[in-house]
Assembly symmetry: C2
Homo-oligomer: 337 residues x 2
DNA sequence: TTTGCTTGTTTAAACGTTTAAGCAGATCTT
DNA sequence: AAGATCTGCTTAAACGTTTAAACAAGCAAA
């Protein structure tokens, strides 16, 4: 790499002090003569000067960088949020550094360390299971951060999310309204709040619909072995003949894996099995019976998260803010009566 | 944010010089007494010292940061590569800053400026149309970079990609072999090499298959108005009755949009229309007639790109290297005879 | 006993910025 | 004419590291 032009080079080139150059280039002084200012700007242009943001950061203590931690950036749910966060951050003059925690406590800690060592000004985090302590540590260090999508009951923090209970309840209620009597659910095998609230919503909707929940209807798959466990679980429920007549998938990734089995077993949707999933996926449009799903506004999540994160950087806020974004049921073919 | 512990704090705390602390913490000296070393390490632990990578970067001139520029991080093709790049970069002790250029020359330049101002050590770029000059400028500044997916005929640079001509040729050849006689193609309305080579492959396969190419078979959509233009183009070809009996989509995003029309018009695949797409998509598995597609190894692309990029940082290489990764046809239902 | 090596530590400069404070010289007040 | 104020610029320190060079003390060799 070629040597970069610094403010020093410009100063030397013109025989002035670096301070003067800095003042001009940042419009930080009204006491510089017009001719000198022009000369400096000219030289900066000619020499193709680019400020070294690293040096500026060291001096200012601010990096204008936002850290984004998600489970897996290759998951469309998160990559779409990433895109929105990126765009929104740019509006504020911020750049984004991202990382995937792979749903692992250790990776999450390592990632956090990396981002903090790089002095990000704030963090946006979709936390992994069992990382409460990491989040609490952030609070103690007074590092501005915002949780998205997931959260912990015993951590009061800035958070942007949907009402998971309500979303699940509404979905399952709709399955019942359209004739479902035996309704299954595929959830992650995790203790994370967002999932357990979706399960509560599911169970309560059943109860309120006058349906007695059966243990076997609720199947669970781990993040690490999603494919196999989802396949096995679904097969258990669908073979030799479907035990359930309606199904609720707790996330789009679960739906993708689960529906693979529905396709393979040639189950008729919605006649034999009605289906609703949380979140969107392109694949849902391509299924012969386009899926009914609960749509959360990723746009809102991303923008609000950035707003909260950077708002926190600006003024040291005290009260954590919780933003509940909209989620609405998009009814399509997979739940037609 | 709380005040961070610096090497100075540790030094003051123990009544020694910062140099000594630095030597110990970096294992850079074999002349430090064992007791002192232990004391310093102990203090660092107790005070919860975290090195300030910004300061270190300023001093060393290296940021251990990799810039990744793609068209759109929310496109699964790129977000999957991003994940692989992220993982691979971590192996090398690098962090990734990403950005989407939105297929725009201006945004691309702005992004490049941002990343360079942040002193990234190297760049991995899927360049937008008409950004040759930006790429050439990188070369002149001797900034290590690697192109992925897309490339320019008049820029000799490090590049990781597939053989687009061959991939398209093979795909279209297969359409012909399985009975196609009138084969359409949906491509981006761009001058980018990777697309024009896919078009050449398509045309040559037609010719070699004894089919005379018809202008109307090739439809194009712009990046900016993909949805509408793809829809219109496809309708023109499919209504009132399909003009073509086989179809080749130049990318997965084009396929997603194009197939929406196939679904809407209730075209029978593969009977009325056989289909092949470049690249993968989850949605392809959910289509009633799972799509035949050309699979490129994103794993290879990501890993090779990081290898080239960081290899270049290490030794000032002279000759640009071009890595052609594998692409193979995955035959499924959408092209059954 | 000087000389020279070894050991353990410090000094100081450097990386590229920003910015408070200082300093001349010119111009304005009275 | 003496001070005050304004104008245009410089000095110097600071941010948190790294690292070559210097230094002091102890020890071995001559």
């Amino acid at each position: 790499m070629e040597k970069k032009i610094s403010i020093k080079d410009i100063a030397r080139h013109l025989g002035v002090s670096t301070a003067l150059v800095s003042y001009v280039l940042n419009n930080k002084s009204d006491r510089v003569s017009v001719e000198m200012a022009e000369k400096i700007r000219q030289a900066a242009r000619e020499l193709n000067y680019r400020p070294n943001l690293i040096a500026r950061s060291l001096q200012s203590g601010k990096t204008n960088t936002l850290g984004l931690i998600v489970a897996d950036i290759s998951n469309p749910f998160f990559s779409q949020i990433a895109r929105i966060v990126e765009d929104e951050a740019k509006q504020w003059g911020y750049t984004v550094i991202f990382g995937s925690n792979g749903e692992s406590v250790e990776k999450s800690q390592a990632l956090l360390d990396t981002l903090l060592n790089r002095q990000v000004d704030a963090l946006i985090i979709a936390p992994a299971e069992y990382t409460e302590d990491q989040i609490k540590a952030l609070q103690e260090k007074r590092i501005p951060f915002v949780l998205i999508d997931r959260y912990f009951s015993d951590v009061r923090a800035n958070c942007v999310r949907i009402d998971n209970y309500k979303a699940a309840y509404t979905a399952v209620e709709h399955l019942i309204k359209t004739g479902g009597r035996r309704i299954g659910m595929l959830a992650y095998d995790t203790s994370m709040q967002h999932i357990s609230e979706r399960i509560s919503g599911y169970k309560d909707a059943l109860k309120d619909g006058g349906i007695v929940f059966q243990e076997q209807w609720l199947i669970r798959a781990s993040y690490q072995h999603l494919e196999e466990e989802a396949a096995l679980g679904m097969q258990g429920l669908l073979l030799p003949v479907p035990v359930v007549d309606g199904f609720f998938f707790a996330t789009n990734s679960l739906a993708i894996q689960g529906i693979r089995q529905v396709i393979q077993q040639k189950i008729k949707v919605p006649d034999e099995l009605a289906i609703i999933s949380m979140d969107e996926a392109e694949a849902f449009d391509f299924f012969y019976s386009p899926l009914t799903f609960v749509k959360q506004s990723l746009e809102d999540i991303g923008k609000q998260a950035v707003r909260l994160a950077l708002g926190n950087v600006a003024q040291q806020r005290v009260m954590p803010e919780e933003v509940i974004v909209d989620a609405k049921l998009v009814i399509r073919e997979s739940t037609k009566k």
